[in-house]
Symmetry: C2
């Protein structure tokens, strides 16, 4: 996993203020990735890539992630059909996170069935009891029924 | 750091399909956070929170993060003046990442001086040489001069 496909990180100037791609992968070989919907601008999901997933995403123009629960490269949409077509890839100042802007048509990105994984909001203001803080559904409509799409696939959520 | 302020994670159903806030903090006590600009919808930055930073963000309606380089709670904008006023906080399906939508007025969120940390894009298509892949500036205009704002503060970027 640590083949070091991409450029070596040499200096702060190289990383922040040059045209050299030198992404930072953590000690597990992963970089966090945020994926937004190019139609709505909203965030669809937050995931991770290893070097190989980043390379595949750049070359195939379809989002590939590293699945931490399944411990393998994950071509998003392989099971559900909801492939993410890449519109743009950006990298941040210190090159330790990636932003994908993607086209999912009328599809969904969330394994629970919603278009976005971020379907609930946290209320703002003074907290009376942290253990009983109620989150609110902002998106109530599922795009698909996970039981029909994923059948016997194990749920990737870890407690 | 592991006081466990928030609710315990009990089941996949509780985490994915209920109104209970039960965020997952990793073994370092952190949860990843993506911050978007409520005016443009674009991503400003990717950071981390511990339990206390999340609580402070909810209660003060200003973004607080955990600074991994400085190893302390980081009230964004304390030095630069570019405070992030919270418009909305969302949490994802498995409650292991946070989305902040914030108002930064005409300010900036990137310590290099740009409005967004994601000022460079990665070109798509077949890669000839991964070590010489050129990233492209999408945002060329700095909002502020970091040397004037941060003076002798150490640069937070880690190689």
């Amino acid at each position: 996993m640590n083949k070091k496909i991409f450029n070596k990180r040499k200096s702060i100037e190289q990383v922040e203020e040059s045209n050299e791609l030198a992404p930072k992968f953590d000690k597990n070989g992963l970089i966090p990735v945020v994926t937004t919907d190019f139609q709505t601008g909203g965030i669809l999901m937050h995931g991770y890539m290893n070097e190989e997933a980043l390379k595949k995403t750049i070359e195939t123009k379809e989002a590939h992630y590293w699945s931490r629960s399944r411990k393998k490269i994950w071509h998003k949409g392989q099971v559900s059909g909801f492939v993410q077509k890449i519109k743009e890839i950006r990298i941040d100042d210190d090159q330790d996170s990636i932003w994908l802007s993607v086209d999912i048509g009328n599809g969904a990105s969330c394994h629970v069935g919603y278009r976005s994984c971020f379907y609930r909001s946290i209320p703002l203001g003074k907290i009376k009891d942290e253990k009983n803080l109620e989150i609110k559904y902002e998106d109530k409509e599922k795009i698909f029924d996970p039981k029909k799409i994923y059948k016997d696939e194990p749920n990737p959520t870890e407690l």
